[in-house]
Symmetry: C2
Subunit: 272 residues, 2 copies
Amino acid sequence: MTSRFLVEQIRKKESFLCIGLDTDLEKIPKHLLKEEDPIFAFNKAIIDATQHLCVAYKPNTAFYEAYGIKGWQALEKTINYINANYPEIFTIADAKRGDIGNTSTRYAKAFFEEMGFDSVTIAPYMGRDSVEPFLEFKDKHTILLALTSNKGAFDYQTKKVEGKELYKQVLETSKSYRNAENLMYVVGATKASFLAEIRNIVPNSFLLVPGVGAQGGNLKEVCEYGMNKDVGLLVNSSRGIIYASNDRHFAEAAAEKAKELQEEMSLELRRS
Amino acid sequence: MTSRFLVEQIRKKESFLCIGLDTDLEKIPKHLLKEEDPIFAFNKAIIDATQHLCVAYKPNTAFYEAYGIKGWQALEKTINYINANYPEIFTIADAKRGDIGNTSTRYAKAFFEEMGFDSVTIAPYMGRDSVEPFLEFKDKHTILLALTSNKGAFDYQTKKVEGKELYKQVLETSKSYRNAENLMYVVGATKASFLAEIRNIVPNSFLLVPGVGAQGGNLKEVCEYGMNKDVGLLVNSSRGIIYASNDRHFAEAAAEKAKELQEEMSLELRRS
């Protein structure tokens, strides 16, 4: 998917909501455990109920890998279901991969070709040659971790490297990567005040903002500091939506929560 | 596996060789492609031919994920085969994972419980709370990327953060992590001169050294600067061993290459 198409979808749906499919067998409604593939059954219901309210889905691969082959199969079924039924939706493999060059190419093939995701999240620690292999894939996007939303973000990311915080160095240097136009960035919403500075460094890039909801970010602040002329934001919510209820009406409850966020987003889009 | 047991195996086999199972369908002998699971058939042959010469196997997960479900199945079969037939061998999932706390726990379960690996490689960018969940598993080891062997290592890892190179900050701070005794570190062999300084920071930890062979490291130098009283080294070779030949005698050819390295290692162990 091109980022232009993504922007069109955001305008059309009046939403820049990304729903995190962090599906956990211990948290889904008990009646689904009788299904042949409870993880997929849950995802399918959530997707069908919320697809008109969001523009992106983001399964975190850890939740699937934890269940071995069965989890991996559920992930494949999920991405195939989205691509077959809602091809207008942007898909993110939240995998936080990254390895030396020839190995990064393998990961890129795994997520972009074998699985058909539109994008994948990547950790920047290993530098340029660990990221560029992902950028070679046309109309696929690489979402680089810049500033994450956890406490550990302050261990290295906000420390100064040659006079500038590491996460800013990551943003700056990545702009010179080959095919840098395929980059987006993860920026934790718990630090909305950082967003203005980040926008100065990468004015035109999409920012994936986790942490609105469970992790305590504020949508209004995120929009104030992070929005650009093409919106340039994907705001993620996972648990706050998908686990809104765990009874038989879980999908409707998820849709209600998604609708609340979509309406807030609609207001922010009109305001901008 | 305890690290004490690993040290015993190293002394017994006179080897600290780790063989990287980076299995690529385009590089394995053509006759194996007729097998039901060519990746596993290749791995099994390599393992049977080399298990007495090495103390560890390290599949890089990217090579398996690139083939989707089939790849993931081949990885499971491989780890199960090693654990069932050669339980004395230390196994490393070279996965370079890392995520926020509750998600890191998922990855830990995936590799330590679902798959039964002894260890997993982890990227440090997200800090303490992304690593500590892995350290909670008894007799399992977390191999933190400190200094990698690719060019991109010079982008951030060797840059000074508050007066000290980032990779040294990673080493230093990780020593205060809860259950830090379960940590090991990835240190690229292309920078053997760095090893002396690294040993000063983590005198007792195991170092996993990739890059001897294809990536140009020198075993003698690695031992001179990196060995400690308990050896403390796992030196990896992947392509140089597993792709020594691609005819019907590929496994014997791999064993010969492994034997050459094991003999060099034996000399270094006697010298120390």
